[in-house]
């Protein structure tokens, strides 16, 4: 690699890391209520020094701090979570087509959400039961497959089986649900960031942050874990312990994200793919950049769902609609890079 290429790569790396901050500010402007740059600046400053802008309308503060900011921060955290988990599990399973839901998290969470909405009502926070069942589904997969050390195919197959089981249970709950709770459940299943409130963030963002942080710290180790088990063991890796750490951290982040935002598909596949196409397969770069790029991707996707149509498109539906064609394109293009 010559000097200019190294410089170019470093520039791309830094730009991608800064991108979420830039998009966060842009996203604050986007919405049906127009806010001028000056007003936005004043509103943001008023949080730090409340006395300096006494005449700011309360509506402006409410829109920025109670509606837009929590929603944007949630998009940022969820996007980073799903992408980092996806990238990590892809390294661990030595397969770039694995996604963050592969171990049964999505259907576990969906069943939990359904139980909560149908039996505990809309006033009980859906994410608690969703989170418990998301973790429960992965625990069941690991228990049935033997351990994290067991053969990858058996883990993946067990993931499919457990997903099918929770999907059947989900149908059963739907069968007994009232039309109102069914509507709320479908809304949840389609993935949604619009209901984000600070209390949701307070519960889920710390969990997502811990998981992401652990996975980022493990970034180089993930290269070694992406080798065959025999090779990794010969290099002195305690495979059982290290794989378990990656699985637990990925599960924690994905379950926290899914329980608060519903099922948002394809992010964990598309983002790491794009990152690998831009910067290569070294997980030292892939994992942190997936966090930054995933956060940017979901913030941007959320901005688009807010402006393209007169009504809001659920974010999960939107990511699938644009995600699938984009993934096919990337898959065809990236074949030569890593396969």
């Amino acid at each position: 690699m010559n000097g200019s290429k190294i410089k170019k790569n470093r520039l791309i790396y830094i730009s991608l890391l800064i991108l979420p901050i830039f998009l966060l500010i842009i996203s604050l402007y986007i919405g049906s209520y127009h806010i001028s740059p000056g007003d936005l600046g004043k509103t943001l400053l008023s949080a730090v020094t409340p006395k300096s802008y006494p005449n700011l309308p309360q509506a402006l503060k409410d829109i920025v701090f109670r509606i837009r900011l929590p929603r944007i921060l949630l998009a940022l955290a969820v996007g980073a979570s799903l992408s980092v988990s996806g990238a990590s599990l892809q390294a661990l399973f030595k397969n770039p087509l694995v996604n963050e839901y592969i171990l049964g998290i999505s259907f576990g969470a969906a069943f939990g959400a359904a139980l909560s909405l149908v039996f505990l009502g809309k006033n009980f926070p859906t994410q608690i039961v969703a989170f418990i069942f998301a973790i429960g589904a992965v625990a069941a997969v690991l228990f049935i497959a033997g351990s994290a050390e067991s053969h990858i195919v058996s883990l993946l197959l067990t993931g499919v089986i457990i997903s099918a089981f929770f999907s059947a249970l989900l149908s059963l709950v739907e069968f007994f649900a009232s039309p109102y709770s069914l509507q709320a459940l479908f809304f949840w299943l389609m993935g949604n960031l619009s209901l984000a409130a600070w209390k949701d963030l307070a519960l889920s963002v710390p969990l997502m942050a811990i998981g992401i942080l652990v996975l980022i710290l493990l970034r180089w180790r993930m290269n070694v874990l992406s080798l065959s088990d025999e090779e990794a063991r010969a290099l002195g890796v305690d495979i059982r312990r290290e794989k378990m750490l990656v699985i637990v951290s990925s599960t924690l982040t994905t379950a926290a994200a899914t329980s608060v935002a519903g099922i948002i598909g394809w992010v964990g596949l598309i983002v790491p793919h794009l990152v690998r196409m831009i910067i290569g397969v070294d997980n030292r770069k892939v994992i942190p950049l997936s966090a930054a790029f995933g956060a940017s991707f979901l913030m941007l996707a959320d901005d688009i769902t807010r402006v393209v149509a007169p009504f809001e498109i659920p974010i999960g539906v939107f990511t699938s609609i644009i995600g699938i064609p984009l993934f096919i394109f990337l898959f065809k293009k990236s074949k030569e890079i890593w396969l």
């Binding site: 010969a234 290099l235 002195g236 890796v237 305690d238």
Partner: protein
Amino acid sequence: MNVRIKELEFGYPNFSLNVRDLSFEASKISSLVGPNGAGKTTLLKCIGGVLPVEEGELYLNGKDLSLMKGRERAQHIGYVPQEYGSTFNYHVRDFVLMGRAAYLSLFSTPSKEDVRIAEEALEYVGLINYSHRYYFELSSGERRLVLIARALAQKPDILLLDEPTSFLDPKHEVEIMDLTARLAKEMKKTILITLHNLDLAIQYSDSIFFMKKGTIFAFGKPAEILNESLLENVYEIKMKIVEYDGRKFIVK
């Protein structure tokens, strides 16, 4: 560093490895030969800690291997598999750098010193100019050399090479075996190598170990041990030993 094995046992459903008492000399090349399924690779993997030893004892310079953690073992023993077992197309230098895993804690990333050691290993196998090439761009022979370089980055005393010459053309076969000889002579590595090519085993080994059905059938220095009836007993076909230019060759 020498390797001693006592009463080693390992079993698959239709196969069991059983080695009573065996030593491999330090800084020499010991080759394991024998028919397919004789247990050569299994023995190598047991020594390398890739497969769990069910019963028996393994010693490195008198130190019990079972008391060592994976990391410590990997600082002494480097295992070179036949091929790379993943789909990700790493740069050659990043690939070799993974050999430093045994020296790095869970959450750390390689230092400049680790990079230097990886580059030194690449230099030794003659592929330093390939540092920024992708692994899958390389030829089979070059890939084998990169796998050896990764094991060298572990800075091991003992190198286990699992059929490093299989599917290679004669030029690359000789290149790999010359490298192996240099590693034993210059770097004082103790080398255990499994081979199917008996001519290479005769030419390069200090000792040959003939394996059959999970046991060591016979062993010794190539010049002393080799005879046609031994070959027939081990491989169950008739072979002739011919001499040319002072060297022995096997004719099937």
